[in-house]
């Protein structure tokens, strides 16, 4: 199977796009959601996206720092999200070339597995620290997050799709 031939050649990513997307993800995570079981982890999703798209730029270090910020913001065990985001970033960076080979739905499946793994790592840490198991609703958030993957792909790649100067004669 060959990668989707209709793929557009993208502009190089700007660092500001990445920073703004992570800030927006943190903001979305801290919104006062009513039922947190149904809400995906936006930071994990954005991290997975940039790890897959820019594995040379975004990786474990960024994931670890974002994890620490999430831990502090959520008031949970310090290091819980840092560990799960590190694992997530590692898997996403390792699988980056493979994931982009698939179409959007194939990518969604991969991301679902990655997000579930990250959630499982966090859960194991909390259970080891003595928390009670809150039930299988824990798996809903990552699955909803994976379903948002096509949307996130379109949104976060939009700044790279624009041509910097309009040139009618240019093919792309």
């Amino acid at each position: 199977m060959l990668p989707d031939r209709r793929q557009q050649i993208l502009l190089p990513v700007r660092l500001s796009t990445i920073v703004v997307s992570f800030a927006a993800a943190l903001l979305l995570n801290f919104l006062p959601w009513q039922n947190i079981a149904l809400v995906p982890d936006f930071v994990a999703l954005t991290l997975a996206f940039w790890c897959v798209r820019q594995p040379g730029l975004i990786g474990l270090g960024v994931g670890w720092v974002l994890g620490l910020l999430t831990d502090v913001g959520n008031g949970v065990l310090l290091g819980q999200h840092a560990l799960s985001y590190s694992v997530l970033a590692f898997c996403a960076v390792t699988l980056a070339r493979r994931i982009l080979w698939f179409g959007l739905w194939g990518q969604t499946m991969h991301i679902a597995a990655l997000l579930l793994l990250a959630q499982a790592v966090g859960t194991v840490v909390r259970l080891a620290a003595g928390a009670e198991f809150p039930g299988w609703t824990l798996a809903i958030g990552p699955l909803v997050g994976a379903l948002l993957w096509p949307l996130v792909s379109v949104l976060l790649l939009a700044p790279q799709r624009r041509a910097s100067e309009v040139d009618e004669t240019r093919p792309i």
Binding site: F30, P32, W33, I36, G61, L68
Partner: protein, 311 residues
């Protein structure tokens, strides 16, 4: 030297090495935090970075609420209403404590002798959002160290105890609800003064009285109030109502479940009570004892609030 790749291909340590490094760093932090609580300094520093996000994230909901208020009534009225509600919560709290004191009456007075209940200051606060942690039951309120909130402060609403402040940042404070699995509160049955400790029931949303003998005198519908012996919670605040008592012959302890009196997971406005100072340890030296007695004497000479209220 000839075996190292040219700098062009150098991409730093291998991913597995990085993963090992960050995993060990995370695990170290987890252990330091869970076992030794050594990470509060780092947490405080990082909180400075996350607080703008948290406050900004809470703003749209607050703005929406304000807009709704504006369209349903005059904005002036709504602010006044909020103020009045806070005042009412304070007044109700005072009324509850007075009622509890009257109900326990002479017996308590005789038991406690000159021991005086310390006046507690209160700070009204608004719940910004529920915790994003499915493993614990916490809320975040909009008051922090800047408003004089201290860790350990009891949190109450108009009908009873909600929980306890467990972590304070500059502008925000985290409140662990009574129903959290790791939260415990010393209580007393209002009817007969039986003391017990209520533990959070986790996801069930109930409280559980543990280590209560199977023949303990407790029945359905008993009201539980704070006993005040821990030096944290003021005495006589409603905590819960007993909803189920199971006495099993095979077990030496009764299983007692209670429904929290306060709207633990409802409501918006709560009061943070300045914690009662821990009772002083018994004086060791003779001089210290003298000093303590002097203090007690000066205290008893002052007109009591209780006496003033008596008809």
């Amino acid at each position: 030297m000839e075996h190292t790749p040219p700098a062009f291909f150098n991409r730093g340590p291998a991913p597995v090495v990085r993963l090992t490094f960050f995993a060990i760093a995370s695990l170290a932090l987890i252990i330091l935090d869970a076992r030794f609580r050594y990470t509060e300094g780092l947490r405080g520093a990082l909180a400075l970075a996350t607080q703008p996000f948290q406050i900004a994230a809470a703003a749209p909901a607050a703005a929406l609420r304000r807009a709704t208020d504006f369209f349903t009534s005059q904005s002036q009225l709504s602010t006044e209403n909020a103020e009045l509600r806070m005042k009412l919560a304070e007044a109700k709290l005072a009324a509850q404590r007075l009622e509890a004191a009257a109900a326990e009456g002479a017996r308590l007075k005789a038991l406690m002798g000159a021991a005086e209940r310390l006046p507690a200051g209160t700070t009204p606060a608004e719940i910004l959002y529920n915790g994003r942690d499915p493993f614990s039951r916490r809320v975040t309120v909009d008051k922090g160290t800047r408003d004089g909130v201290r860790p350990g402060s009891p949190v109450v609403d108009e009908s009873g105890v909600v929980g306890q402040v467990t972590r304070v940042h500059a502008l925000l404070a985290e409140v662990t609800l009574l129903t959290d699995k790791d939260q415990a509160i010393p209580v007393q049955v209002a009817r007969n003064g039986l003391r017990a400790v209520a533990f959070g029931g986790g996801s069930s949303g109930l409280l559980e009285l543990r280590y209560l003998a199977a023949n303990a005198e407790i029945v359905n519908g008993d009201r539980l109030v704070t006993s005040g012996i821990d030096g944290v919670y003021p005495q006589g605040l409603p905590v819960a109502t007993v909803t189920r008592v199971e006495r099993d012959a095979t077990n030496i302890f009764a299983r007692v479940l209670c429904q929290p009196a306060a709207g633990v997971d409802r409501g918006r406005i709560v009061l943070l009570i300045t914690p009662v100072e821990a009772p002083a340890t018994p004086p060791q030296a003779e001089g210290a004892a003298e000093k303590g007695r002097d203090k007690a004497a000066t205290k008893s000479r002052r007109p009591r609030a209780k006496d003033a209220r008596a008809p």
